[in-house]
Amino acid sequence: MAKPVGPDLILQASGVRKYFGGIHALEDVAFSVKAGAILSMIGPNGAGKTTFINVVSGIYAPDAGEIRFQGQDIAGLPAHLVAARGIGRTFQLEELFGSLSVLENVMVGCHTRMRAGMFAAGFSLPSMRREDRQMREEAMQDLAMVGLDGRAHDAISQLPLGERKLVGIARALAMKPTLLMLDEPAGGLAAHEVDRLVRLLYTLLDNGLTLFIVEHNMPFVMSISEHIVVLDEGAKIAEGPPGEIRANEDVIKAYLGEEH
């Protein structure tokens, strides 16, 4: 697993803006994530949380602002380069690859760490076969970490929601990331599945990963986070440890009318 860079800040966002036509999806968002920490981003629906993850992971380029990962500005980098730098992510709607088996999905995560070129692959050279075997073993280990090694050769369509989400996490882990971003990992999960998720996340923390979680499930967020950032209508309205956030007036007002 990747080791964090000391007590440094893994991720620093400042002045991040993203507009979609007239809609201000993100307005001057700024905060930092400490290495080895769990930071959660919450906010009512449409607050811009998924947009923020998409901006960091390179799906969108921000219209303004800096996003420093391990000290280097990655704002505007395309997604595959952000991934190569060590940021892994999951998706709200899993976005798993239906044409591939569970194990193959995870192996896609190993992609960037491999060197074999098109010709080595097409002519089935020993170097490529060796790499492939290695990828397979490492992917199995990542699957085992999320407890799904028994399902390695199943089709994605055979898995229930909770297990599909775990495959998504295993796939991101296969990238050996420094920072792991999770978009609504607890969404749609039953209580025991959430517990399993929490245990998994703590294990990942112990292994040196930094976690950035976007989530709606309040009990989950409050129990697991060290630090919380609250977004409302694209702007950060509060930041702090769970206790503070729970009592924060602005946060409560933002959520008024929503059931939690």
Binding site: L96, F97, V108, T112, M114, G122, S124, R129
Partner: protein
């Protein structure tokens, strides 16, 4: 991959049958038809990988086939270089062209890409007919010398049979290895979800270009062999009718598997020969028309009743039998 996985038994048997065929028969007709199946099949397989597995609907493969044929033919007839070098030069030309056109074109989605590549198909067909001094115009190139390499000249049908099938099987083998490697996984990944694929570090535009160029070059190689076998080419061969034929092969054989289009090539070519023989007395010299009607109706029927094609049907059979006989494993 284990040795058994790298060289699956069915394919070994198939290759053996292919090699054995010209040794047990001397029927020029049979061998000739099989040459067509090999060459068209090679193009169809590449097109299947691009269109069905990578999800990039390109209708340009007849063009690459044709350009490979013309390039090699022009090089050989003008004496610019020996024929076998013409093959390589054709491949390089197509690689360059597909690279320059592919980069902007591959940003298009779905039917827009199909449209643009269709336009490309028509443009090249028109240009081939119009640039008389270079390409021989509507009549095409005649009197192309036979393929020769290291002093050996490929003269008989049997010679070209082995060259054609060597190319076809080689193409299949290469693509098989590719699709079973991280490349193949990357391709299937971005065909399912470009967003997720790029988030896993796959440079999607670059990979699309790779597959595009690779399959184009494969079609070009097949085209070059084609022109040396026939000893002539014409622009009309590489247009809409060929496109319909290739599409039929892919649809009938099933695009989701690698061998599907080759199976389709077999079925289509032999079916067509059968129909021609049957209708020979009824409709003399009406082959192109009959083909057009036949293929068209076949495509529609398959699209409606067997969308997965024959290979899809075979896979289903495989799944069912695996359940019945209890073997674990992957499709």
């Amino acid at each position: 991959m284990t040795l058994k996985e790298r060289f699956p038994l069915p394919w070994i048997l198939f290759a053996a049958a292919i090699i054995a065929l010209p040794l047990v028969t001397s029927s020029s007709y049979l061998i000739g038809v099989m040459i067509f199946i090999a060459l068209y099949g090679a193009v169809a397989v590449g097109m299947g990988v691009l269109n069905e597995q990578a999800g990039l609907f390109s209708l340009a493969h007849p063009t690459w086939f044709g350009l490979g044929a013309y390039a090699a033919g022009i090089v050989a007839t003008r004496g610019i270089a020996p024929p076998w070098m013409g093959v390589i030069m054709g491949a390089l030309f197509v690689a360059l062209l597909s690279y320059s056109i592919g980069a902007p074109l591959l940003r298009l989605r779905g039917f827009y890409l199909a449209n643009a590549t269709f336009a490309l198909l028509l443009i090249v067909e028109i240009l081939l007919a119009q640039l008389g001094p270079i390409t021989g115009g509507h009549e095409g190139l005649l009197g192309i010398p036979p393929l020769s390499f290291a002093g050996f000249t490929f003269e008989t049908d049997r010679h070209y049979y082995f060259v054609a099938w060597g190319l076809c099987l080689g193409t299949l083998w290469f693509l098989y290895n590719l699709m079973n490697s991280r490349f193949g996984r990357a391709i299937k990944a971005f065909s399912d979800s470009e967003v997720a694929a790029s988030s896993m570090g796959i440079n999607v535009p670059r990979y699309k270009l790779y597959v595009f160029i690779l399959t184009a070059v494969m079609a070009s190689l097949a085209g070059s062999i084609f022109c040396f076998y026939l000893r002539f080419t014409q622009p009309g061969v590489f247009g809409f009718p060929l496109l319909v034929e290739l599409i039929t092969m892919i649809i009938i054989g099933g695009g989701k598997t690698l061998y599907g289009p080759l199976l389709g090539a077999f079925v289509i070519t032999w079916l067509r020969e059968a129909i021609h023989m049957y209708l020979k007395d009824l409709l003399p010299r009406m082959t192109a028309e009959v083909d057009a009607i036949f293929f068209g109706i076949l495509i529609i029927v398959i699209l409606i009743f067997m969308p997965g094609g024959l290979a899809g049907w075979v896979s289903q059979l495989g799944r069912v039998s695996r359940r019945v006989f209890g073997k674990a494993g992957r499709a």
